[in-house]
Amino acid sequence: MLRTFSTLFSIRTSSAVNRLIYYAQRLPLAGRAVKDTQYANLKGKKAIAVIAFLLQIVWGFVSKLAFLGLMVYLPAVVGNETLSQEDQLSLFLHIFLLLSFLVAGVASITVLETKREKYIAVKLMRMKPAAYMQASLGYRYFSYFIYYIPAMLLFASLLDVPFIQGIALAASVTLWRVFCEYLHLKLFQKTGNVLIKNTAVVWLAIGLGYAAAYAPIFLNWIPSGGKLLLLWPVTMVIAALGAIAAVRLARYADYRTAVDAAARRDDPLLDLGKMFSEANKMQVKSKDKDLDYTHSDGQTVPFNSREGYAYLHALFFARHRSLLSRPLWNRMAIIGAIGLIGVALSVTDPERASALAANWSKGMPWLIWIMNFLSIGEKACKALFYNCDLSLMRYSFYRNDADRHFRQRLYRICGLNLTLAGGMGAALTGFALTAGGVPTSELLLTWVCLVALSVFFSIHHLFLYYILQPYSTELNVKNPFFFLVNIAVSMAFVLALLLKADAAGLAIAIVTITAVYFVTAIILVKRWGPRTFRVK
């Protein structure tokens, strides 16, 4: 057992140290000093391993402190100073019971968890599954208990709970969780179900658990259930259950099946990177119903009158209609909902509605954020990249014609965004008219802003797509400039809020910036497009 444990330990620390070296190499300046040969520097790595281990221990203590402090103690005590200490303690225990005993008992389970380390140890290094599970579970819960003691003692003392009861709480939670592990394993043995893979159940448990944990605070009700945890009989029962579970887990005969269920070679959870890139690709893959014909002889004819890039785009947008129409309809639905809520508000609560309407011009900078959110430019760029450009960008003629297809796509995306702007304008107009008190000039300026902003964001996403080429073949964004520019645009919105721009000033600023951006984008794409528009 000790040998298994030391092997496990070596795998963990080696991985951690290698990860440290990997990320150190990625640091901006100092990174270059760390060469690939560091991976072979065993003496150095042993030293770093000690540091990594110490960091892990420190992290263990800190994380328990943080959890108890931020998620349990803070909500129970801060903001509830009016309550007696008794009541605060009840709240504390209630939250603790629900989060650490119930929610974590369902969601935070290692015995059937899909972990890469499990796969490496058992499948690749041929460790005995029982030995692995025993060592892994043993280490986890032993350290769990140790890490909990200082945190629990601290908060227990703040709430006037005796020392010994604080330790008992730490022991209870540890043993209860061991018991839960056993229950999960038993469930698997009887039904073949791995509960933690049933995302619906897990999320339901998390949702209900958290809601139940924090609801009493909002409802001003003091639950007394948590206090059960302090009673000695309860602690004894939990300890007994935990002990029995621990013995049964140590003697469990069929760990191999359990490990097999959790560590299949093609389990998507084992390779999170691949899982995310597949998910990304599903978003922009052309839908089968759009392309659901093997003969498209008939379908080509309507487009035959067009030539070149117009032909290409006509075909692309016709054959990817559902890729773009679904996001469009989602956004229209959100706008519709906002409009309805606004109108309903003005009908049911005219005073609040007209108070909101009176501050119309103050709220106008929010249009920037709204149009950024609604803009369908990014979805269109992703769809274009993955389904069309990825294959055609390799041809030099296509790259050299970057400005031609840029312009055609710009007009199409503008069209889509203008539709959304129109919807938003209609919703806002509806609210303004029913609430009353909004000067017509401000309403008109709102429309101007919406139109200008929709054009702005159409240019913005497409321009960044052409110049920065942010998408990799895996469809994740690797270009830091992309993030920086988007942050800059978001900052503009904050700036507009801070400067307390009036409606006219805001409209003029937006229209001017949009016009300048338009001209700049056209020029820059013509000049730099052929160079930048290639597969990275």
Binding site: H295, E307, Y395, S396
Partner: protein
């Protein structure tokens, strides 16, 4: 990676670029086609009008796995391509090109998404028949082709060598021996020609192997 890699390629011959994995064959192709920036040196093209720098438009890059826009049919894609190159081919007949590649009417109007590997390859080669770049680079051609498609491709290449400089990279000796007129070996960042009389001889394989084997490496078992 490539140092002093210098060579003189001529039209009318199929050149095979042989080298080990990681020798730099794809890098060399990327440098020629402009995908990768060249740190130093130059590539020049000598044609009827004199000598000039090799431009991106002069290169046709044939990928072993053709990546084509899947939402178009073969016919539409070629039509699009011809539209773009309208000034070079004012009255081109799309169907004639398809006939030359012996693609049936049904296949031409099928979505590229549903094309087999061989058909995608035909479309790719059609692009080069249309655009006629002086230099055609083929990166590991014929890998993962079935017997028939490989045979068709080889015939196509032999036909095309008259009007183009064809260079293909491979690490399969037998293919190089079968198809090429001249072999160029890329080893240690340098290009060197292999004497033409080696090509038909029985010692071809052992000679190439001894050329490529690096004595500083551990002996391959």
């Amino acid at each position: 990676m490539l140092q002093d890699a210098g060579f003189h390629f001529q039209k009318g011959k199929i050149y095979g670029l042989l080298g080990r994995n990681g020798a730099g064959k794809t890098t060399l192709f990327n440098c020629l086609s402009g995908e990768t920036q060249i740190d130093g040196g130059h590539a020049r093209l000598k044609d009827g009008e004199g000598e000039r720098k090799l431009a991106e438009a002069d290169i046709g890059y044939v990928y072993s796995l053709p990546i084509l826009p899947e939402f178009l049919t073969g016919y539409e894609f070629i039509k699009f391509f011809l539209d773009i190159n309208r000034d070079k081919h004012p009255d081109a007949n799309i169907d004639a090109y398809f006939d030359r590649m012996s693609m049936s009417g049904e296949d031409r109007h099928r979505l590229i998404k549903n094309y087999s590997h061989g058909m995608k390859n035909k479309i790719q080669m059609m692009l080069f028949l249309i655009s006629k770049p002086p230099v055609i680079l083929l990166d590991e051609p014929l890998t993962s082709f079935d017997v028939i498609v490989a045979h068709e491709m080889k015939n196509m290449l032999r036909e095309m060598k008259r009007d183009h400089i064809l260079i293909f990279s491979t690490h399969i000796l037998q293919l190089a021996a079968d198809l090429c007129d001249e072999i160029v070996v890329l080893n240690n960042g340098r290009l060197s020609a292999v004497p033409a009389d080696w090509l038909g001889s029985a010692e071809f394989e052992p000679s190439i192997i001894s050329l490529l084997k690096d004595t500083s490496h551990a002996e391959d078992i």
